[in-house]
Amino acid sequence: MTPVERDDRRRAASAFPPNGGGAPRRPRRRRLSGPLLWLDGLALLLIGIFSVLPLLYVAYLSLVDVKAGQLAGPLVGRENYAFVLDDESTRTAFRNTFYFSTLSVAVATLVGTAIALLLDSRAPFTRLLLAAAVLPWAIPEVVNALIWKWVFDYNWGALNALLVAVGALPRYRAWFSDGPTAMHALIFAYSWKLVPFVVLILYAALRSISPDVVESAQLDGAGALRLFRHVTLPLIVPALTVAILFCAIFSMRAFDVVYLLTRGGPGESTTVLSYYTYAKTFEFGDFGAGSAVSVLLAAGTLVVVLAYWWVLRRSERES
């Protein structure tokens, strides 16, 4: 069959669709077939096995009484949830996650916005700064944890030495020995990793502000502060929202820094939900309770993800 013949056949087929007419088919909409279809199937299979099935399965596990290493068990309804929610440790983990995420996002947003504004105001060293702002993102989280563990080290760490040298601290301090200090050290370390997202998203937004708007505001006599408050800030709010939600989603699942710097300690003072899930499941072997916490954590994240989706779609529609 020559290409022309095949094309004729296709045109004929679209003129007389197999469903016997009805609404004429739109010309763009073609059928998925051949290798494209198989490869899509393969992709769906992989996503299904490792993303969708696990989600359904973890929901199932949270409703049954399962022993470590087994695949199924008798249904127990809400028992696992009742058990974990009744546990004071779970409530502590929720509180810690909330505190950790809120503060990490706040710090990252403030620092990131400041750096984005610096970049936009064409401060000296802008090119170097832009390159440097990508670095924390590119460094693997384990290495990030290592860097900060070394900086916070009691005996030989750079932070103690620096603070004592400039006179901000009278003597060396153990950063991970009491709860609140350990939590804040963790937040500092983790928010460092989030800063690039904020910088990149906000810098792009700042750059897209038309210079005419700024100029006319300046002609009307607006000073730098008023300009930021009444012109720049309202224009970057959508980008700011995206950045905040994005950072929130990732800080809610932060695991590596917690595992490597504090193991949730001292006591339970830095046990966030992701670490709590890990410890419950893989250290204590309680798959039912671990699954219940997993589902709760996923549900919490889902709310933020949906908000993110909503904001993203709205800004896409506007642009």
Binding site: L46, S51, L55, A114, P124, L135, A138, P140
Partner: protein
Amino acid sequence: MKPRWRAEPVKTAVLGLFACLSLFYLLGPPAWMLRSSLSPDTELRRVPPTLLPAAPTLRHFLVILQLPGYDEAVLRENIHFKFYRRATANSFVISLGTTLVATSLGAVTAYSISRFLGGRARRWVLLGLLVSRMLPVISVLIPIYLILLRAGLLDTLSGLVLVYSGLLLPFAIWILEAFFRQFPRDLEEAARIDGAPPFAVFARVVVPLSWNALFAAGAFVFISTWSDFIVGFIMTSTERAYPLSVVLARNMSVWREPDWGIMNAAGLFAALIPVALAFLLRGLVVRGRLAGAMKG
């Protein structure tokens, strides 16, 4: 025109000061890792520490890579030190395998979604992809562990490639779909009128013009796989499949003081490739959805 610092000296000085502070905040910690990786042990234990090592040395790197002239006594200090070479090879195999699978299948699927799905269906699929990408991995680790256990793929490289591909495919599709949607359709139209079937149009017309986007998506997948810790940590138990991040973490016990020279050298080594890739990508990152999809 006068140079800027002459025209507005105070403003430039203030901005410059803040820029320096930001640079210190962003570059200081990794620079300290670089400095420490090159310092001999005696200098690492000096109080207060010196800014630069008086006698820089490469011996920590020699040990982790087991290059000629390394100190065997140090290697025996911690059983995990001798896994670095194997783990580096493992990380390469896992990351390259995942990049290949996730980017190629992701490209095909993204293209299919952008061309064969209508508005509403496409929105739902994209939302599904976003959700599966953003939900915490830790909450699906139990089932994935059980699946690999049953399939006999725990502690194998192929098992890890499969898991990472499944986890990162939504991510690759999400990035590439945005790209293909903007791809000019006239080019495809011409090939289609010549009678080329959809796959041929994709393979011969679309792919050759999309290398930039494919490279960007591939680099993201590579960085995400290379940098992951938790999946590799749960799914491996011996040096047969340990990725680099897991060996690094296993060396960093909280219970006793790590060998800081070795740790800093290994950390720097592990960060090298993702950082290099990220700089190749920088121009591509700043745009819209790419920035929103950065993290693995």
